[in-house]
Symmetry: none
């Protein structure tokens, strides 16, 4: 028994969006041990979608559709599937009720076009969409064929997959042999340097170890195949421990950990608090910290000192130092950190000042030059200089700056 | 005549990589005006690849392959294509020479496995790979069918596409007619409501108008087919103007515009400045504003008042109002906006306070309740209440809060 992924949407054919849904579903199928050999992308066109269904039903027994469940006339997936199997569409009052309720929550009234989303093939079960309006379906139009449909919005699709599709597929007997993975996360080391350090692990048969890198972070995916999660974990744990030993402080966490969540836990367990002063990141460091629910326990706030007047007036940076050393300097980073710490009365003050580009760089202070300041208990203060390189671009330089600030605090707290 | 994109690689089926090649090729085909209706992904398996070729040859006249051109035994694309058309493979000495030269440049010696990359179907032309070792082919195995192959490495594929494939396809007469698109952007209206308002435009033949929605934003893509960019623009402009007229203030910009860039331009042209006070967004509004290079002209900074002590101490929010109305209230939003505006001495002060969840909601103040405060010239101040709904989740509620704050300022500035 095999699955096929069918992504519906003219925006995919025009290259307007990346097909991240196909990647997510492919990973999920691998995890459940469900083989899949084909992925097809087709536009919002009923005739062509029918041809794709015709082909897929000849080579797969589980068809997974994404996209085309919205309220507009070009959303055709559900009605085309029903037409292919000669099944009538039935309006399901519970879906109308659910959409009406969700619209009301947002203070809006359901539009007539939303009624379309309640038309479900006869005999199909509803696959609830907790975060959006378009429900999916789970349907066996024939005994040897299962159809699952999902909206194209990745967050909605993923939530529906986890909450409803996975338990359903497991009830059909899938996921007996599972693939269990741990994603080990590193900061402050390059992918090639880490790969060389752990070279002996990259050819293991089970668990396998594979390196990835993105936006300054390096990851090692450790995956084991086994009958149960527990057996897989037993295979993974010793390898994970050894790799952590080799990587030392460059290892910062696993799976859903982020630098912000790891720093948060360290602050929480120490009973300490943090404030931030941001120049070139403009609020990005605060945003990272507050992505974590419950961060108000240790993160008190900060000052976005984008303009020098704010650095002086609120953070107490000395105007003669701004004039003499420039806003992007270690002394200003330190004064920003000291200023925000004392003004907000927190244990730590963390600051960022730099040149994110693309303009504003000079010979001596190029785009990508960033100073991190860290003020802590007993009036101690230090700063760190980074040169991320102009070619990384504004967005990545800002991201690297915020992550590196957190990483410095993490190493200090350990 | 239509094209089909066929991406070969088991790593795509395992979800190890995102299929960015399909997106790139889709954009490129659209630009050349070559219609394509299907994309297929298949693993490194000769039998299944043959089936995919069989299907594709029945529905497309240009087959574009990526992946499977490397030196390892699981790289099967070229030999499978040759086998499908019963064509022998011929070793091409110029390819061997080229690979040897490239290896020498890197101080390496060509391995025997690289010889495989010089095996080309009889009659095929070589599609040179300036940056890697694996060449592609351009081949007409039948008079009505053109095959192009590219390696899976995106940078190599893109270079080869630009340098050789585009001129070749243009020589066949493609690219005479181009597709030009404008993406019109809206905020403050639902996809279904907008689609109903512009229903008359959704079935136009040229330009076409298609709605999209993501994370609170609604978009209409207006695409025209014409001989030149200019002619396409002439087709698009009247439709664009009419849609803008219908949408009124809900239309905020086009193409690369963001709410932050549009607000920024309005502030710049008015010679005005902005500061922000953020609670539940924790810096996200500042980050959005500073994504724009040059935003320091009008954005001076802000205060992240995550903890109530910061609201009181730095923004001057009255402690009795915090106690009486709570931090998430219109009066606190207004005091935050007034406080940051006066403290940072800007024309406008924009504030956000809300419950992003998942915890912290109550019966009367549910998760998703957000207040935006806006203080402006002449000491005027107002506030706006939103209920985004708990099911949207923390990340989306924070995103909607920041965007909605910008949208309120935008409407005020217009």
């Amino acid at each position: 028994m095999t699955a096929e992924i069918i992504c519906v949407g003219t925006e995919l054919l025009l290259g307007d969006i990346l097909n991240s849904n196909a990647q997510y579903l492919a990973q999920q199928l691998a995890k459940l041990g469900i083989p899949h050999y084909y992925q097809t992308v087709v536009g919002d066109n009923s005739e062509r979608l029918k041809q794709v269904i015709e082909i897929a039903t000849q080579r797969a027994q589980i068809l997974i559709f994404t996209g085309g469940l919205g309220p507009t006339p070009d959303d055709l997936t559900c009605e085309t599937i029903a037409a292919f199997f000669n099944s009538p569409l039935v309006e399901r009052p519970e879906v109308i009720e659910e959409i009406t309720r969700k619209y009301a929550q947002r203070g809006r009234i359901m539009t007539p076009s939303n009624r379309k989303q309640a038309l479900i093939p006869q005999g199909a079960e509803i696959l609830p969409n907790p975060t959006g309006t378009a429900p999916g379906i789970i349907w066996q139009p024939r005994t040897d064929l299962t159809i699952l449909t999902f909206p194209g919005v990745p967050s909605e699709m993923q939530r529906m997959w986890e909450v409803t599709a996975v338990p359903y597929l497991k009830s059909l007997g899938w996921g007996q042999e599972i693939i269990y993975s741990r994603m080990l996360r590193f900061w402050g080391i390059s992918e090639s340097a880490l790969a060389e350090k752990v070279a002996g692990y990259l050819n293991l048969p089970n668990p396998t170890v594979a390196p990835y890198a993105s936006r300054g972070e390096v990851k090692l995916r450790v995956s084991a195949k086994a009958a149960t999660d527990e057996q897989a974990r037993e295979l993974i744990t010793p390898v994970e421990q050894q790799i952590k030993g080799i990587a030392g402080l460059d290892y910062y966490g696993a799976d859903d950990d982020t630098l912000a969540s790891v720093v948060g836990e360290l602050l929480r367990s120490a009973g300490q608090t943090l404030s931030v002063a941001e120049s070139c990141t403009g609020g990005g460091l605060g945003q990272m910290l507050t992505e974590i629910s419950g961060s108000s326990d240790y993160f008190w706030g900060g000052v976005i000192s984008y303009d020098n007047s704010v650095k002086e007036r609120i953070l107490g940076v000395k105007s003669e130092d701004l004039a003499k050393f420039g806003a992007v300097s270690s002394i200003v980073a330190e004064q920003m950190a000291v200023g925000v710490r004392s003004h907000l009365a927190t244990t730590w003050g963390l600051s960022i000042t730099g040149i994110a580009g693309p303009t504003g760089g000079t010979e001596t202070k190029p785009v990508g030059l960033v100073y991190i300041g860290l003020a802590g208990p007993n009036e101690e203060v230090e700063s760190f200089e980074y040169r991320f390189g102009a070619m990384r671009g504004r967005s990545l330089i800002r991201h690297l700056s915020a992550c590196t600030a957190l990483d410095n605090l993490r190493r200090k707290l350990l």
